[in-house]
Each structure stands twice: as C-alpha cells, then as structure tokens.
C-alpha cells in the first residue's frame, strides 16, 4: 500500500516537472521573427537590385551584371562579418540574414575567424567550409544530377 503511494507521488512529481520545463522553454515568436526576416531579407535583395540596375545602366550584359552583383554582395557580407556588424543584424533578422547570399559569406568568415588560432591550413582553410561545404556539395551535386537527367531525357 505504502509502495503504491510512493509511486503515485513519484509520477505526479514527474508530471509537474515536465509541465514546468514546458513552461520555461521559450516559444519562438513566429510573427515577430517573420516580420524581421521579411524586412531584412527584403532590404538585402533591394540593395542587390540597385547594384544590378547600376551596372546594367552602364551597358554591361545581364549575365555579367548578375555575376558582379553576387560578387559585391558576397564582399559586403564578408566585410560586415569581419567588422562584427553582420552578426548583430543576424541576432534579430534570423533567416533574413542567413538565406541571402550575404549569409553564405557570413557562414564562411565566422568559423574561419573563430578558429584562426588553429593555424592557416586546419584553422582558417578548413573551418571556412564547415557550413559552406555542405551547401557546395549538395548544390554542385544536384547541378550535375540535373544536367545528366536533362541529357538523357532530352535524347
């Protein structure tokens, strides 16, 4: 009889604890996060559009202007990460700063800077790709797969 009481007591304690944990774990504020992501992500794309239009106004072809725009955006992302500004934006913007190509540059510079003391080969050289590596593997992988599929299906 007493054993059962003890067990019951234990179970109710566990439940209490689980409820307590549930309450304490912060719930993401979906609306606020989405609004931040929308504005910062949109802003970055608008800046890129301005750069693209400027180069096209100079009479540079569309493909080349696109490439130049990407290069400049990558530079800005890397530079602002070096200055420590990009991560400050990222704290609020979340995906708004991660998803644009500037976030790709950020994902290269941050770990490379962090692990500099491990040397220029194993520190900077390899840690650069801790996040960019998977992106390139799956990106190039799917590109080749799509090319092969297109080749054999269009025969």
């Amino acid at each position: 009889m007493r054993k059962m009481e003890k067990q019951l007591h234990k179970i109710s304690k566990e439940q209490e604890y689980n409820e307590y944990v549930k309450k304490k774990v912060p719930k993401p504020n979906y609306l606020k996060n989405s609004i931040w992501a929308f504005f910062v992500g949109g802003m970055i794309c608008t800046i890129a559009q301005f750069i693209l239009n400027t180069f096209q106004d100079f009479g540079i072809s569309k493909t080349d202007s696109n490439t130049i725009t990407v290069i400049i955006m990558v530079f800005l992302g890397a530079f602002l990460t070096g200055l420590g500004i990009y991560d400050k934006i990222g704290k609020r913007a979340g995906a708004g700063s991660i998803v644009p190509i500037t976030g790709f540059a950020n994902s290269i510079v941050s770990p490379a800077m962090e692990f500099k003391r491990e040397g220029y080969v194993f520190g900077v050289g390899s840690k650069m790709f801790s996040l960019a590596g998977p992106v390139l593997v799956y990106g190039f992988g799917s590109s080749v797969a799509i090319g092969l599929l297109y080749f054999f299906l269009s025969k």
Partner: protein, 118 residues
C-alpha cells in the same frame, strides 16, 4: 516597381526559411542546404524561372537563386556541349560567386578577429 518586387519576393523567401527554422528543429545549415537543392530542382521543373523573371534579385540573391544558376548553367551547357556540360555548366555559371566567397572569406578571416561576445 522593380525594387518593390525584389523586396517582396526576397522577403517571402526569407520568411519561409524563418518559419522552417522556428517550427522544426532544422539548423541554419539544414535550411541552406534545403534551399539550394530545392532552388535547383524547382529550376529544372521550370517553376523558378518565372519567379526570377518577376522578382529579379529578390529571387537570385537568396540561396535558392544559387541553386537556380547551378541548374540553369548545367541545362544550358548540356544543350551546347552535350554530356560534358552536365559537369561544367553549373560550376561555370556560379564560379564568380564561389571564387569571391572563398577569396573574400579568407581575406576577411585573416584581417579581422572575432569580436568578444558580451
């Protein structure tokens, strides 16, 4: 008008990423990989091209746009060079961005030091 379109399309793509991160246990790395791959697949299916036509940099600057140039480059090269194009096309069309990311990424990491976290 071009700017508003870029703002809205770019914003929406980032919101999709944010909702993925908030509602699932996906890390930023997973979101980036998913976005590049789905950008490439959507391009192959002919769905992403109209989005690029409409949104301009709003569609090309977020990472699905990276997948878009990869897939588009591969398909265009296969049309011109045949089988070899499948291997060269995607990487050629994104070479500028990738080389810039590596060079600028390396330089910035060497020049700057991480800011102390407060």
């Amino acid at each position: 008008m071009e700017y508003i379109k870029a703002f809205i399309v770019g914003g929406i793509i980032c919101v999709i990423g944010q909702l993925l991160m908030d509602s699932t246990k996906l890390t930023p790395a997973h979101v980036l990989v998913t976005f590049v791959t789905s950008g490439a697949i959507l391009t192959a299916l002919g769905i992403y091209e109209p989005i690029v036509k409409f949104g301009g940099t709003g569609a090309t600057i977020p990472l699905p746009g990276f997948g878009y140039s990869l897939a588009k480059g591969a398909i265009d090269s296969v049309k011109k060079a045949g089988l070899l194009g499948a291997f060269t096309g995607g990487i050629e069309s994104t070479a500028g961005g990738v080389a810039a990311a590596i060079v600028f990424g390396y330089l910035m990491a060497v020049i700057f030091n991480p800011k102390s976290k407060k």
